[in-house]
C-alpha cells in the first residue's frame, strides 16, 4: 500500500483531484488540514496532467509519503509500497 498526505492548500490540490478520479485509490480529508490518499498498489502522477510547475512538482510529497519513489522524472513520478519503517 502507498499513502500520501496532501496539505489542503491550492498548490497541491491537483493531487487530490487526480486521486478522486482513480477508483482504486481512497481519498479522505482530516479536519486538521490534510488529505490522505491511499492506493493498494502504487501511485503514479503526471506533472502536465496536473498542470504543475516544476518548482512545485519537485516538492510533490512534502505533505508526507508512506512508500518508496521508484521513479521521479520531470513529467512522471511512481511511488511503490515498501515495508521499510517510516
Amino acid at each position: 500500500m502507498v499513502v500520501l498526505y496532501v496539505l489542503d492548500v491550492k498548490e497541491f490540490l491537483p493531487i487530490v483531484e487526480t486521486a478522486r478520479k482513480i477508483s482504486d485509490w481512497t481519498v479522505s480529508k482530516s479536519d486538521k488540514g490534510y488529505y490522505r490518499i491511499s492506493s493498494p498498489t502504487e501511485i503514479v502522477l503526471n506533472r502536465k496532467a496536473m498542470k504543475m510547475k516544476p518548482a512545485v512538482w519537485y516538492g510533490l510529497f512534502t505533505g508526507g509519503m508512506n512508500g518508496e519513489i521508484a521513479e521521479f522524472g520531470r513529467e512522471e513520478v511512481r511511488v511503490i509500497g515498501t515495508n521499510r519503517a517510516l
Binding site: 499513502v3 498548490e11 488540514g33 490534510y34 510547475k53 510529497f61 512534502t62 508526507g64 508512506n66 521499510r84
Partner: protein, 233 residues
C-alpha cells in the same frame, strides 16, 4: 533615551575585544529560548541588506540608472573599528516600503577569490528578494528589465511565490517576487512538521554514523508525523 544608551556604551565591550565569538561554534542549547522568556521584542520588516562591492561606478549605475532605484543615503568614512579596516563608502538604494539595498565599497582593496561571482546554487542562496504587489507589476519588471538589456530568468512558480531572477554587475543574485496567497495556520503547522521530520531523521542517521542523503527519507518520516497528528483527537 537614545543618548543615554550611547553614553553607557563602551568601546572595550566583549563584542569588540573578544572577537572569537564571530567565528566559533555556537552551542544553541546553552542559550535561553524566546518561549521561556517573559519579553518578546518585535521586528517590523527589513531595513536594509548589505554586501561588499569592488565595482563602484557599475553598482551605482546599475541600481540607480538601470533598475531606477533612488539612491537615498551615502556614508563616506575613514576606516575605524577593527584594525586594518579601509576607508569606505556605504550607500543605500530605496527598494520600497522603507527597505533599502546597501553596498560597502572598501577603498584601495581588491576583490578576493571568495567574493568572485559563481554559477552555483550555494552562491545564489544568498540573495535579495524584492516584493511586488501584483502579477502585472511582476510582468512589467520582467519585460522592462529585458528591454533594458538584462538577462532575466523565466517566471518560476514556487508554492506561494512567483519569481523572476537576475544578477547585478557584482554577480549578486536578485529576485523579484509576487506572493500568490497569504500563509495560513495550516502552512505554519505543515512547516513545523516538515522540519521536525527532517531534524529527527538527520539526528537518527548521524547517531548511526551516516547522514541524511535524500528528501524521500524526510517525506517518509513526515508521513509518520502527519499520521500521528491527524490521528489525535
Amino acid at each position: 533615551m537614545q543618548e543615554t544608551l550611547h553614553q553607557e556604551a563602551r568601546s572595550d565591550s566583549p563584542y569588540t575585544t573578544k572577537r572569537e565569538y564571530q567565528t566559533r561554534e555556537v552551542d544553541i542549547g546553552s542559550l535561553k529560548k524566546a518561549s521561556g522568556d517573559t519579553v518578546q521584542p518585535r521586528l517590523d520588516g527589513v531595513d536594509h541588506t548589505a554586501r561588499p562591492t569592488w565595482k563602484l561606478r557599475e553598482t551605482i549605475e546599475f541600481y540607480r540608472d538601470i533598475l531606477g532605484l533612488p539612491l537615498v543615503h551615502t556614508i563616506s568614512a575613514r576606516g575605524w573599528g577593527d584594525p586594518g579596516h579601509p576607508d569606505f563608502l556605504h550607500f543605500f538604494f530605496d527598494a520600497g516600503k522603507g527597505a533599502t539595498i546597501a553596498f560597502f565599497y572598501y577603498i584601495g582593496s581588491d576583490l578576493t577569490e571568495k567574493y568572485m561571482p559563481e554559477d552555483h546554487h550555494f552562491y545564489s542562496a544568498t540573495h535579495t528578494a524584492w516584493s511586488v504587489p501584483t502579477a502585472e507589476e511582476l510582468q512589467c519588471w520582467k519585460t522592462t528589465l529585458e528591454a533594458r538589456g538584462l538577462t532575466v530568468s523565466p517566471y518560476t512558480r514556487h508554492e506561494i511565490l512567483e519569481s523572476i531572477y537576475f544578477r547585478d554587475p557584482n554577480g549578486y543574485p536578485i529576485e523579484i517576487t509576487l506572493r500568490l496567497r497569504d500563509v495560513e495556520v495550516i502552512d505554519e503547522l505543515d512547516a513545523k512538521l516538515t522540519l521536525e521530520a527532517a531534524i529527527q531523521v538527520e539526528d537518527e542517521l548521524r547517531t548511526k554514523g551516516d547522514r541524511l542523503r535524500d528528501i524521500d527519507t524526510v517525506w517518509r518520516r513526515k508521513a509518520k508525523l502527519v499520521e500521528e497528528f491527524i490521528g489525535e483527537r
